[in-house]
Amino acid sequence: MREITVTQALEEAMIEEMERDERVITLATVRAPALENKFGDRRVRFTPISEAAFTGIGLGAAGSGFRPVVHWGMVTFSFVAMDQIVNQASKIRYMFGGQADFPVTYRCTTGGGAQIAAQHSQSPYSMFMHLAGLKIILPSTPADAKGLLKSAIRDNNPVVFFECSRLAGITGPVPDGDHTVPIGVADVKRAGRDVTVVGLAYYVREALAVADSLAKEGISLEVIDPRTLVPMDAEAIRASVRRTGRLVVVDEAPATCSAASEIVALVTEDAETFRALKSPVQRVCAAPVPVPFSPPLEQAALPDRARIEAAIRRVLQKT
């Protein structure tokens, strides 16, 4: 199978969906020459730096029959548009009694590790998960990125699509043709028997690297990528934990009220899964600080393989 980067996979998804449905339009502050040359500047809108306005414009156009894909740039900039996200997009369908659909996709980059400091290194997916009414996607491979972006654009609801910055250039196999991935279905990236490791975005790859290394000691990790945070495929994670009896969740957001916390709660409040646990669950998350600039500080703030491995060894200790 051909190998392409996440960035290429996302661009393919955009081109294919814009070809497939002329109601798909895009709004972004950064020009997209590949799209603009192919589809023209009526459908590919280069916008002023006015996040609140173009977030709401996407919503209004969605409620008027179009399927906008709005790119905020970094998730950082979405905070300028919080009224349109929190008060409008996440509530508009339910609040109006379901009388219209709002098929709008909000894309943004996320995550740290690039020495661009606090404001540009955020992973605030759980803030958006907390708002009932938005679907939330966070892929970790080129194939999932392409397949989920296509599904997001075809979905009839507001979707927030997070793109991990550190994964933009990584390559992986992507099937030819109309490759879609269903929203709300987790993927077992590596099957194993001793510990379930749920990773998010970049930390799926890091968990897989740790799994390779620990396999040499005979420790078998099962690595699960939820891929979608809302709706969360809780049953896939619970089923894995019922087999392994141990759970480690890895993410680069701080732990408080995080996606990692939600995953732990979904696992432990299920009676059957709770009874199967052999040791306390562990979260490996960012330190509760704004991500610092200087490389040694940033590395200390974010999870790494050593901390993932240490958490795995803790859940394997006899209790």
Binding site: S50, G60, G63, F96, G97, G98, D101, N157
Partner: protein, 324 residues
């Protein structure tokens, strides 16, 4: 001429309906028969009715927290509006929205909105849709003088002008942003002065003169349909009653002379338009009384419709969250 008369009488009927709907809603709320917060549109009827009279049924609007008038002017069903205030399942939002979130997408009413300026970008999106559809559609967003303090106001004006969107910005300057007089929050009171800064025409109009509002709107709509872009319409009106009420209306703190001036027969938009139509010999005082009776009967029927409608079933709590 006959058609013009029919249109004018219908405009008067809608203005009276808006007035009576909100006065009735206040009584229903005081009697605890309906719920939540109310923001009456009393005194501003000429703006909604004048603007919507110049729009086509397929044109789209967004509204504000003070939205009952925009709904009625755009042609919403008062039975379903009333049922929504009563929190019943036959309400526009099946009882999920209430007074501040009435919408009727079938008539192009894309929703009232509890956030000042919150509907402006949404209307701008509807205008973008109209531009892409290329069938001559336009969108209009209603907002108050208070919205001019929000970033969304400025951002939306700029983008709509830049992209020449078929959008009509309708500022209802009712002289108060919640509890604050407009003079206490702005140096410049003529909102239309923002228009040249964003490269669009600005029109200041007597917002209590429904025909002047209709005429100004018609110009703006013509321009929008020609593909020349948006217009900012500043409608100078007056909020005759309070900003909001829950169980009881808040005490009136404004000067009695000021209120008397705006409520005078030649200032109040409803009586003023009655007098225009009777003065032109288009209706008689008896005709107006008959319209008022019909409106009151229709409202009684709406209350009956609402009270007969069941409350939503709590088992349906999660229905309408996500589309298939």
């Amino acid at each position: 001429m006959a058609q013009e008369k029919t249109e004018l009488v219908e405009m008067l009927r809608k203005m009276i309906m808006i007035r009576e709907f909100d006065l009735l809603a206040i009584e229903l709320r005081k009697a605890r028969r309906i719920y939540g917060a109310l923001h009456p549109y009393v005194g501003e009827e000429a703006v909604a009715v004048g603007v919507c009279a110049a729009l086509a049924p397929t044109d789209r609007i967004t509204s504000t927290h003070r939205g009952h008038g925009h709904c009625i002017a755009k042609g919403a069903d008062i039975n379903r509006m009333m049922a929504e205030l009563f929190g019943r399942v036959d309400g526009y939002c099946k009882g999920k929205g209430g007074s501040m979130h009435i919408a009727d997408f079938a008539i192009g009413m894309l929703g009232a909105n509890g956030i000042v300026a919150g509907g402006m970008p949404i209307a701008c999106g509807a205008a973008l849709a109209a531009q892409l559809e290329d069938r001559g559609g336009v969108a209009a967003c209603f907002f108050g003088d208070g919205a001019t303090g929000e970033g969304e106001f400025h951002e939306t004006l700029n983008i709509a002008s830049l992209w020449k969107l078929p959008l009509l910005f309708v500022c209802e300057n009712n002289r108060y942003g919640a509890g604050n007089a407009v003079e206490s929050v702005r140096r410049v009171i003529d909102i239309s002065l923002h228009a040249p800064a964003y490269g669009m025409p600005g029109i200041s109009v007597d917002g209590n003169d429904v025909l002047a509002v209709r005429e100004a709107t018609a110009q703006a709509v013509e321009r929008a349909r020609r593909g020349e872009g948006p217009t900012l319409l500043h409608c100078k009106t007056f909020r005759s009653l309070f900003h909001a009420m829950r169980d009881v209306p808040p005490p009136e703190t404004r000067a009695p002379e000021l209120l008397a001036q705006w409520k005078a027969r030649d200032h109040d938009p409803v009586t003023r338009f009655e007098d225009v139509l009777t003065g032109r010999g288009l209706v008689t005082a008896a005709d107006v009384a008959a319209i008022r009776d019909t409106v009151k009967r229709d409202l009684e029927a709406a209350v009956e419709f609402a009270e007969k409608s069941p409350y939503p079933d709590p088992n349906d709590l999660l229905v309408d969250m996500f589309a298939e």
